[in-house]
Subunit: 386 residues, 2 copies
């Protein structure tokens, strides 16, 4: 049997998976229409409503990676010619726009500098000065840049214009506040493999009534049968008989259930606070090594810290050193940040002071090897002092 | 942690998962761009080529259930207005046609009676009498009816017309012969949760050069970004640097790797023979209970036996009895066969004489409870005598 190397996962995801989640995923498979599995589906849907803070009946794990869930949300509401506004401040905003174009939608992009949040005022100005949009999309937690945008304020900016909203919460879920109903978000998709500490491959989504109405009023069929929410709703509906649509990834649902149980046991507020505090410890420690996060403090994503690569250090070579000598994975830069930034994840099960210390020690050791005069002890002490 | 009930899975899938596959899936997650994971990707691609009997570089596990892989194959080669012929002899043929219509393709259906194979002569006649088709699709192993069609003969019928071929091998893979290159199949998708005995949620596919050429010559972009083979190829390419496309379901790939290892260790020929023999034992045993398979002998799918529901027996009530009293899952009829047929799966890890005996004993016990004069012992003896 394949034995993967032991890694400390401190990249942009997957993050380390909770041992009990792995154990849950390895429970014997049962039928996807077994009454026991249908009961589990109901339980998981209830858990997702708690985590998303929503009453949306249509809350379920989408049976594919988050990239699939992202596309599913777009194609269910967009028809050829529909106008969509995509706020872009990193790779995943670019991706949203690419996918929306493949729906035949008329896509406008509102660009923000990489490493900065989406600005609610600029969004409001844009919406006020343009023809109406059917849908406005943004990424709450830009995994490519480590930037957190304020979904509550962004949703407020959109509200007077009546557009639907689609929010990427892949790296936010479990790690920073999401309040779907209070903020009035119409569609949200997330990932299993970041702060939920489950394996990748299944993606929580929640869709509100306004978005489902848009789906019901379509003039053209959704271009995908696999991703069609009206068909998926027949399988994952809140109650009644389940209509076979596809075979649910039974074991992945076991794992997600356990991951959501662990999160709800800790409590959402406690988990969000833990991510904030541990991130602050990392930032304090890195400062001792002369390394600073790229985004301004108020726009930093607690679960994922993006830092500039210290001058004169070879990107790939240093990350290979960390992986080979310390079994530590940190993330490369992506898109515009390729070769310019590193991404350090402190997510879910992996978000703790021990991980911070391991990372500081490894980076300091690598820098010392290159002749830099840095002190791991000072970095760790600074982290502990937070 | 969730403890699923212990079930004997003898439905149309998921089938029972090999214990070592579950164990492999529960190994610690590593990064999806970790050099160790990329090596595993290469290994799994090599295993898939062996199992599909192909040299196709584009052989990979698609990161979604087989329903997603089915759609991915269609949308990558079909453009609006393209002519496609779908051979239909069950639910999955109907699904292929529905998906092809959402590509804007001009879909013609060649219908065959439910419970019967796709007839190569009728296919040849149809192709000779019609305007040319870009793509011809059929289901080798119709999971809804337990019918096996002869992909080799069907491919021969298509060859003179030069159309691309797409073959559903979801329930066939590992359980009956598939020879992608020798038979000249252009695209094949399969499932993990049938005769491979892995959890559901990941789908082996293989795509040949002719189909990739059709993709390269498209005038319109593929309607899905997530399913676009040209982008997926950049991530799963045979060699060189992997371009991030989505986060692979790392643990599902561990499981699939173990499942493929078990199959290749047994040998494809041996596995196919096992499925034939065990199916024959089941059929012999059922005959003693007065139950016969629906498809004619030459068209029976060894991993999945479809039988008529014995007269006067309530479908749902009897299956509930089997589930509650014997922890045994058998499948209901699907589509035209709903309420008329049961589907008994003998797949991969679950394809053995012990399962046959368990099933015969449970069905006989249920029938005796309803006052039928049947003998479990006679049924088991008949099965053993095969």
């Amino acid at each position: 049997m394949y034995q993967p190397p032991q890694r400390y996962l401190m990249g942009p995801g997957p993050g380390p998976v909770s041992p009990s989640v792995l154990q849950a995923s390895a429970q014997p498979t049962i039928g996807h229409l077994d009454p026991a599995f249908i009961e589990l589906m109901n339980t998981v849907q209830g858990q997702l409503r708690e985590v998303f803070k929503t009453d949306n009946a249509f809350s379920m794990p989408f049976s594919a990676p988050a990239t699939g869930a992202m596309e599913a949300c777009l194609i269910n509401v967009l028809e050829p010619g529909d106008r969509v506004l995509v706020c872009q401040n990193g790779v995943f905003g670019v991706r949203l726009a690419e996918m929306a174009r493949r729906c035949g939608a008329e896509v406008e992009v509102l660009e923000f500098p990489w490493g900065r949040a989406v600005d609610p005022q600029q969004l409001a100005d844009k919406l006020g000065a343009s023809k109406p949009f059917k849908l406005v999309c943004w990424v709450q937690a830009e995994t490519s840049t480590g930037v957190l945008s304020d979904s509550q304020q962004l949703a407020e900016a959109v509200r007077p214009h009546g557009c639907l909203t689609l929010v990427d919460c892949v790296t936010a879920i479990g790690g920073c506040p999401i309040e779907v109903d209070a903020w009035g978000l119409d569609m949200v998709y997330a990932g299993s493999q970041k702060c939920l500490s489950a394996p990748p491959g299944i993606a929580p989504i929640t869709v509100g009534e306004r978005a489902l109405d848009a789906l019901r009023q379509r003039k053209t069929p959704v271009q995908s049968w696999f991703m069609d929410f009206s068909l998926l709703g027949g399988y994952w509906a809140g109650s009644g008989k389940r209509a076979y649509h596809h075979t649910a990834p039974v074991n992945a649902v076991y794992g997600l259930h356990e991951a959501l149980s662990l999160l709800l046991q800790e409590g959402l507020d406690a988990s969000w606070a833990r991510h904030r505090v541990v991130n602050a410890a990392l930032v304090a420690g890195l400062a001792e090594l002369g390394i600073a996060p790229i985004p301004p403090q108020a726009e930093r994503l607690p679960p994922l810290t993006t830092i500039g690569i210290p001058e004169g250090i070879d990107d790939a070579e240093f990350r290979t050193y960390l992986l080979n000598e310390h079994n530590l994975e940190i993330g490369a830069g992506l898109g515009d940040f390729a070769g310019k930034a590193w991404r350090i994840g402190l997510m879910g099960h992996g978000c703790n002071l021990e991980a911070v210390e391991r990372c500081l020690n490894a980076i300091a050791a690598g820098m010392r090897k290159l002749g830099r005069d840095v002190s791991a002890d000072a970095a760790v002490a600074a982290a502990r002092a937070v």
